[in-house]
């Protein structure tokens, strides 16, 4: 049986201030998988990925990348790893192609091998025209694609994408999804994705783990998880305004506003019943849509605690504003 792309056992992280960010988590990501790691702010996602990438020192536990223990041969494990972090972490003053080629050099790639690979990636990711420009002149979406090109330059077998589409417009986000899907399916690159766009995780990922307060609270297939959703909420747009929510037997109905109702439907319930009752009461429905993405409903129900953060990680784009100084 093939070694997992990533295997984590008993991973613990206690920061200097005593905060226990990870409480002995176990996690496996199979080779070739497209895996979502989700969790609220401060849940432990970035700490986990930081340890895997060597940016954070673990307190205890074991991490293996394609069977290579990072405590035994981290350098070898790093060859298999590509990282696209949440925040921009390249020199804003470097040329675009220099950033990618320099990263190749860090992996010991000869220039004659790195140059064509760099050109290919910049073309694929729509950065070819910008290759000789300074990185600080790129738009937010281009900077994210630059980090993807940089992460792929050494042909990693495991790619970690930490909020790769944060702050990217919808059209570009979808083209990035296509690209990620392609490198996963055609090149066999295993991918671990964290995102605050749950639609993105639902669309791309086959397996999912949800982490909360330093513990993995769910680790299953995306399909399996979605079948656990027992209630969906639909927003119904009404033809005429209503002062109060109508009573619909077997359903929960709330008045969202004068022209909109929120209808909660339990799994297995016949939706026609609801419409029949509404019609009988003279309520005309013009259109309907899900109030939230299905995964989002599950996510919120799993991670919501009275004193827990219920928000999902937002984009964090505190790019360095510093002037390049050289005193």
């Amino acid at each position: 049986m093939a070694e997992p792309a990533l295997s984590i056992r008993g991973l613990t992280k206690v920061y200097g201030n005593g905060f226990e960010a990870l409480k002995g988590i176990d996690l496996d990501v199979a080779q070739g998988d497209f895996f979502a790691l989700l969790g609220p702010n401060g849940a432990g996602k970035s700490t986990t990925l930081g340890i895997v990438c060597s940016l954070v020192q673990k307190t205890a536990g074991q991490v293996k990348i394609f069977g290579i223990d990072i405590d035994e041969d981290f350098a070898k494990a790093k060859y298999a790893l590509g990282v696209v972090p949440q925040e921009f972490n390249f020199s804003q003053f470097e040329k675009v192609e220099d950033i990618v080629l320099t990263q190749a050099g860090y992996y010991g790639m000869p220039m004659k091998e790195a140059r064509p690979r760099c050109d290919r990636l910049l073309k694929d990711l729509g950065l070819w025209d910008k290759r000789n420009g300074s990185a600080r002149m790129l738009s937010g979406g281009m900077k994210r694609r630059l980090m993807i090109a940089r992460a792929l330059i050494h042909r990693p077998r495991l790619l970690i994408l930490d909020e790769p589409t944060a702050g990217v417009d919808i059209e570009l986000r979808r083209s990035m999804w296509e690209y990620m899907r392609r490198i996963n399916e055609e090149e066999g690159t295993s991918i671990i994705l964290t995102t605050h766009y749950l639609e993105e995780a639902e669309s791309l990922c086959r397996n999912i783990a949800i982490i909360n307060r330093g513990e993995i609270i769910k680790n299953t297939s995306m399909r399996g998880l979605l079948t656990e959703l027992d209630t969906e909420t639909f927003l119904l747009d009404l033809a005429e305004p209503l002062d109060t929510a109508p009573r619909v037997e077997g359903f929960e109905v709330e008045r969202a506003d004068s022209h909109q109702l929120a209808l909660s439907v339990r799994k297995g319930t016949d939706l026609n019943d609801a419409f029949q009752q509404l019609t009988d009461q003279g309520v005309r429905v013009l259109s309907m849509r899900n109030r939230a993405n299905r995964l989002e409903e599950l996510f919120v129900s799993m991670t919501s605690q009275p004193d827990a953060a219920t928000g999902i990680d937002g984009p964090s784009e505190t790019s360095a504003q510093a002037k390049e100084t050289a005193s």
Binding site: G50, S54, S91, D98, G108
Partner: protein, 257 residues
């Protein structure tokens, strides 16, 4: 990494560092040249002509080795301190940390890059000095050895400073409050023979005195101190600072949580 990969990664580091200070040459190469030209005009030409000779050498020629060394020291130190701290600040240090490059390659890349700027500025200052005086190189190999070792030593010092720094102010404290006074009091502009005995003894604990004098000995053939001791001291400091910097880097000091 095999040897070839190590060499490629080290070369990449050095090229990146050199590209950085060349890209911003108006900040890195021009100011020291202008400052040193001022020193040559004011201290060498105007005041120096009234000072006369020191150890039988014109004052202008006497101060040239010290001023070259001052440029090498401050530029080597500042280059690495500024570059590595900028990498920390912009988080581009993570590019290196996630790669399989060993820490000693990262350290060596920054140190060689810093030394390259120090030596580059030193060369510019030397060329400028030739417009004001004539230099006879008494001991070329010794001169080269001292200036390279000094550049490496202060580059490592700048790296340690940047590792510990938490804000940009932290990388200017040492150059302003430690390096500059020690350099000025390290016999750049005068022979310590001119000082009272007490202050001569105090000056002897200034490490920069040894570097300036060893370098001056290489160029002019005169020194206030034994040169062999200076070389041993510089070499010892390089080894000690290198080990300290590498230990800090291995521990993730200032860069890993």
């Amino acid at each position: 990494m095999n040897t070839r990969q190590l060499l490629i990664s080290l070369w990449t580091m050095v090229v990146k560092e050199v590209r950085r200070f060349v890209r911003i040459w108006p900040q890195t190469l021009v100011p020291p040249s202008i400052t040193m030209t001022m020193y040559f005009i004011i201290f060498g030409n105007l005041i120096g002509s009234r000072v006369g000779e020191m150890h039988g050498i014109s004052y202008m020629s006497y101060i040239v080795p010290g001023l070259i060394m001052m440029s090498v020291i401050t530029n080597s130190y500042s280059n690495v301190a500024s570059s590595f701290f900028s990498n920390k600040f912009q988080r581009s240090v993570e590019e290196m940390m996630v790669s399989p490059m060993p820490n000693w390659v990262i350290l060596a890349g920054f140190v060689i890059g810093g030394a390259a700027r120090g030596l580059g500025v030193g060369l510019i200052v030397t060329v400028v000095s030739l417009f004001f005086t004539h230099l006879d190189l008494h001991h070329p190999f010794l001169t080269l050895m001292v200036v390279v070792m000094t550049a490496l030593l202060f580059s490592i010092g700048g790296f340690i400073n940047a590792l510990l720094a938490k804000k940009f102010d932290d990388i200017s404290i040492i150059p302003i409050f430690v390096l500059t006074p020690l350099t000025y009091l390290g016999g750049v502009f005068y022979s310590i023979d001119l000082l009272p005995e007490f202050w001569q003894n105090v000056t002897m604990i200034n490490p920069i005195l040894y570097m300036v004098n060893a370098f001056r000995y290489g160029i002019l053939g005169i020194s206030d101190i034994p040169v062999s001791g200076a070389l041993i001291a510089i070499a010892a400091f390089i080894v000690a600072f290198w080990c300290l910097a590498l230990w800090m880097l291995n521990r993730g000091k200032g860069i890993r949580s």
